[in-house]
Subunit: 381 residues, 4 copies
């Protein structure tokens, strides 16, 4: 009897561990084409705002539409539990760090109301925007018809980990293939991180896939559950599934990296890893348009028994347009993300996102040179 091979662990990489290699030719940033298609909807820029209560409300979704991107309203959060959640949001903002989770747990005990689901969709449409709203798989069967009837354009079905095959003790778990018979609007599903899981989801007919488990700033899945895959590796594998599925079927299902993106550098790395779009929470939570008053929390934070997120302080220090287009005097990559994307694509000689996905990336530890220099100055001045 031979000794068994020990369990093997592949290496996975996050944003801070990689860097993009410039190309062998370069192009002017103005020559770069951006854009993202989800179902029949075209977006000028491949940026999405996360379906998180502190980030997106109907008004934010309208502003984001004007900026060329897409913001998703969470239909299982405070906007469908309260006519006006302003007081509750104020309470969260006023809470100490230690109280915040308990207050969130209490606030989310209020029931979700059918009328508010429809009302939020209509508010977005009234603003002229593409209405994208999110549900968890558990409630999708119940509320998806209401959502569609209210006029939503895109349904996002999202949980920490969503798979095409889910086993529950109810006989009536969500089956995506059945769902697609009942509703006709494009459905985006997430989150996922692996090749096979992504391929299976694509085969059910989804319009796009959200990539990422664990990396978000407001998510503590890794501490609580040990589950999570760094975003660069997750995106690389899901992009491979997309390309495989495209060669198999001729249908191109975009993948959107969701979670942990904070700077222009992170955005660019998502695309080089293979993403078609990026979804961000924290950066948008810090805009004046966001309802979170400078705070931000994940949708698993209010879980009554096993919260897996924290309230994080992001401040209010930018606007949607400054965040996306600048101009800026910040030098740390936290504003003008579209400008950064154009510039990086130019340096890699990429005319399109599809070409940028082919750029080279190396494993390289994050550089902290400024600290060095300060240390140098303190030692000798």
């Amino acid at each position: 009897m031979t000794v068994p091979q020990f369990k093997q662990l592949r290496r996975a990489y996050g944003f801070d561990e990689v860097a993009i290699v410039p190309g062998e030719f370069t192009i002017n940033p103005e020559l770069v084409e951006l854009g993202l298609d989800i179902g029949q909807h075209h977006f000028a820029i491949p940026f999405l705002a996360s379906a998180m209560d502190a980030v997106v409300d109907p008004q934010f979704a309208i502003e984001m539409h004007r900026a060329g991107g897409l913001a998703v309203v969470n239909l299982e959060g405070v906007w469908t539990r309260y006519d006006d959640p302003a007081g509750m949001l104020q309470e969260v903002a006023a809470a100490s760090r230690d109280e915040a989770t308990t207050i969130l747990q209490q606030a989310y005990q209020a029931p979700i109301r059918d009328d508010l689901i429809a009302r939020r969709v209509k508010e977005i449409k009234a603003g002229g925007a593409v209405a994208a709203v999110s549900l968890t798989p558990m409630y999708t069967k119940r509320w998806a018809p209401i959502v569609q009837e209210a006029g939503a354009d895109i349904l996002v079905v999202q949980s920490t980990v969503t798979t095409a095959r889910h086993e529950s003790n109810s006989a009536e778990g969500l089956r995506f293939d059945k769902l697609f018979k009942n509703i006709s609007i494009p459905v985006v599903v997430g989150n996922t991180v692996g090749f096979n899981a992504t391929l299976e989801i694509m085969r059910t007919g989804v319009a796009a896939v959200l990539v990422g488990v664990g990396p978000g700033a407001a998510c503590t899945s890794r501490e609580v559950l040990g589950i999570g895959v760094p975003q660069v590796t997750a995106t690389i594998e899901c992009a491979a599934a997309r390309d495989y599925y495209f060669r198999e079927t001729g249908r191109y299902v975009p993948i959107i990296t969701d979670g942990g993106i904070r700077t222009g550098g992170d955005v660019c790395k998502c695309f080089v890893a293979g993403a078609d779009g990026v979804m961000m929470g924290s950066p948008f939570a810090a805009t004046t348009e966001a309802p979170g008053r400078g705070y931000h929390w994940g949708m698993a934070t209010p879980h009554a028994n096993l919260p897996r997120g924290t309230r994080v302080t992001v401040g209010v220090n930018t606007t949607i347009t400054k965040l996306l287009y600048g101009p800026t005097s910040r030098t740390d990559g936290t504003e003008n993300l579209v400008g950064a994307l154009r510039t990086a694509m130019g340096m890699c000689g990429a005319h399109t996102i599809r070409e940028f996905q082919q750029a080279e990336m190396v494993v390289a530890p994050a550089i902290k040179t400024e600290g060095k220099i300060y240390q140098f100055a303190q030692a000798h001045s």
Copy 2:
């Protein structure tokens, strides 16, 4: 003469370096089966409390039994040296950090009494609990008969490193095969970290094996001796030995990862690495039921000449049932460990611990996103 190959060093991994990959299908946490068998004893949850003086006394063992797990009482610590160690425990708690080791060294100079060994076993039995008690190999021959006669259910023979073959200058070192002729209760042996050493121990007939050398919070073996193997790799190798031995003999000897486990994430990684159970010290030391008054120390700490542990401060901030079952408003994974295990198994599509052992794990650096966000907020707010 050819140049010799240089000594090769394999890479070993600890909890903070790995992450679990969600599965290709998912199941509801309620459908998950937990449970651990040691000899004829079945435990509802695969959680054990360490045989450490600041963690387990007879009353704690009774409470842990009620919670569905197993706590082991150390028979070579203060509970068998003092009728009532309360004063000594109070003194340790009151000591400064610098004095603590010296006070522990002095306290453990008192002799171990046969009558107290028997008394502690009977106290646990009187509470209706499975009585599991621990001895070091050096004293096992002498006290194992007393332990058995007093009615103990499980004997744990434990030292920093225990092997099936130990050479001592006494002619009468412990031989496990001989021991098993004299006592009939199941014997759990530890600690070990390697494939061959574990296989040899299993072949002596032990009921379970404790895995882990060096990683515990109260252990400084790595600084003092340079010895230690990170727990993920140690568990992977010992699990391979268990599976090898099972295929060889048809007897399944569970392995229990012992040391360094602090969060639900750590717990889950143990099982994905191959564990059948987890043994924890520090987390249980912080319960109101623990005798350590918010402090914790390893059993090598009181060593007179070469202490290899420190008194660590853990606080008193939870209970056995909150630690295991919640509910909680903590978001760092330090409470509701059973809930975390169920949720993670569900995300990996594992109905049982045996299936969860097959989940995928990647090497991925621990994420420190919150720090990033704070930094972001401070820079721009």
Copy 3:
């Protein structure tokens, strides 16, 4: 259809991750030969000062020439926008950290004047020094003739990433082969990081290549764009291109590692990685001869929409000659860089830079032993 191989990421290394292995024989430092040739110009030491406004002005270039090296004056910075930039430099030095980028953005709005371009070149020549001046590719066609006519000896064409093939929406982008028909002085081009890109640039006829994208202390390209390759790997690849091109053509085009070099150790690692010269900004910015008054910023810092650099504080704490030749009582490698280079070459048995390029280097994490010792002392004293 087979599963596609996932995108592969090579490992890249920076200064702090490698160390030089001493040789099998050793030589006295006095026996070591230094020196660098660019076109027909020979420099006694292979050290260059960066074309950055806070580092080099015409007077600095003259002093650097006297010290045996070469300093490059930036022709698109303050020296060609202001008759006397002293007031503006004073304002930058007096600004708070938060204001600095905005002030730099404003200061660089002033137009570049043809007369000042010519004047700066003549000032350097008047001091008896080799006049090396830099332009970005965008303005090279326009100002290169003026530069040459004014008597410049070396033209540096430099941007964050420069390639032999650049696509712009103007029909008249810079083509190096065309440029070389119009001007006869040697042209140094940069920056680049890869084998193919470097080889292509060498084939256009350049006199030397600057290596490095992203690593400089005053550069934040990695945060903003995600682009950057650590200098050791960048230098290794570009050196391979130089050697390949040399075998192909017999023409030896030196490569100069530019960015992130701070200590004698960094300097030595550049050469062992394959460099023929090193270009430094921050260390020279801290000399009394530098115009930056103890501050330093990258040339991408003043970008109006997407600044990619910061003002860093370096202090004024050395002189050009002390930095290069000592003597020093500093023990952290930040002075006497030429002495360090000679000593290291001696320990590696290298008579020349070309031999030193063949020394062995290992991947080894930076050692922080002093911290350890302090910790040790604090714990026990």
Copy 4:
């Protein structure tokens, strides 16, 4: 013409990156045999004290001899420049951190006196100890005869990097083969780090080799020169050279790991990497017997032009016998190093140092669990 392979960088490891794996059998620490032979001299324990001015003076050498080890007196430091260096040592101890290097540079300007060389040797002999003294290669030819005539037992020829082949501009550089014709006492040579360099040195007839370039606490060669190899890898390679040379010639030349050793864990890792002995500076500098008054500096620190070491604060907090044999109440491995070595050998089933050299070691990041626990306590108490 094919693309050249890029320069390859091997991975090298230091103490904090590895851990020893316990063995498949274990033995009682009392059964372990220690001991080291250099030439005809046998030492009960394989511990040496470094030839550094703040560590060893003649009286220290006598005390170290009594403790069973060997201390080397530096013959080019203060003990041969001053009749009584007490005042100078006091001045170094009183200096601020910034002044220390300058004061050391000045103090070492005093000339070395022949009479003091002889006197120091005789002082050690008068104390009944084995007299081991060190010279640099540059001065060995001149002073080796005086050393031998004065009665020294062992000569150590030591510089940062010493090779069998050194090229100098004097026609009369040191040749070890010639040296060995003129003096008959055993000669220990160092330092070296590579297989080939070590093999060449062994072939000249040396009695032992010192291993290590760069890792010491008081050494900054890595910052200043970029040169250095982490000690675990250096020891592994030099041990391979020793074994190769032994198979080639039948002569066993012990290797002594020198530099960066601070704890029992570090000591044990040296032997598992292949060392026959360990040489330490900082730990001995902190003994009451050391002349450094709680400070410590490397012999390259006083270099007039390019100092490559710093004065480090170690405190005075132990004695030679406590450091080596305990007893101790420290739990961080900084006392009872011989006890730690015996215990670790027992856990690895090694009866002798030669067997311990065969133990397994893994690459594993240093564990910082205590910090974790404190963080845990602070968060929840």
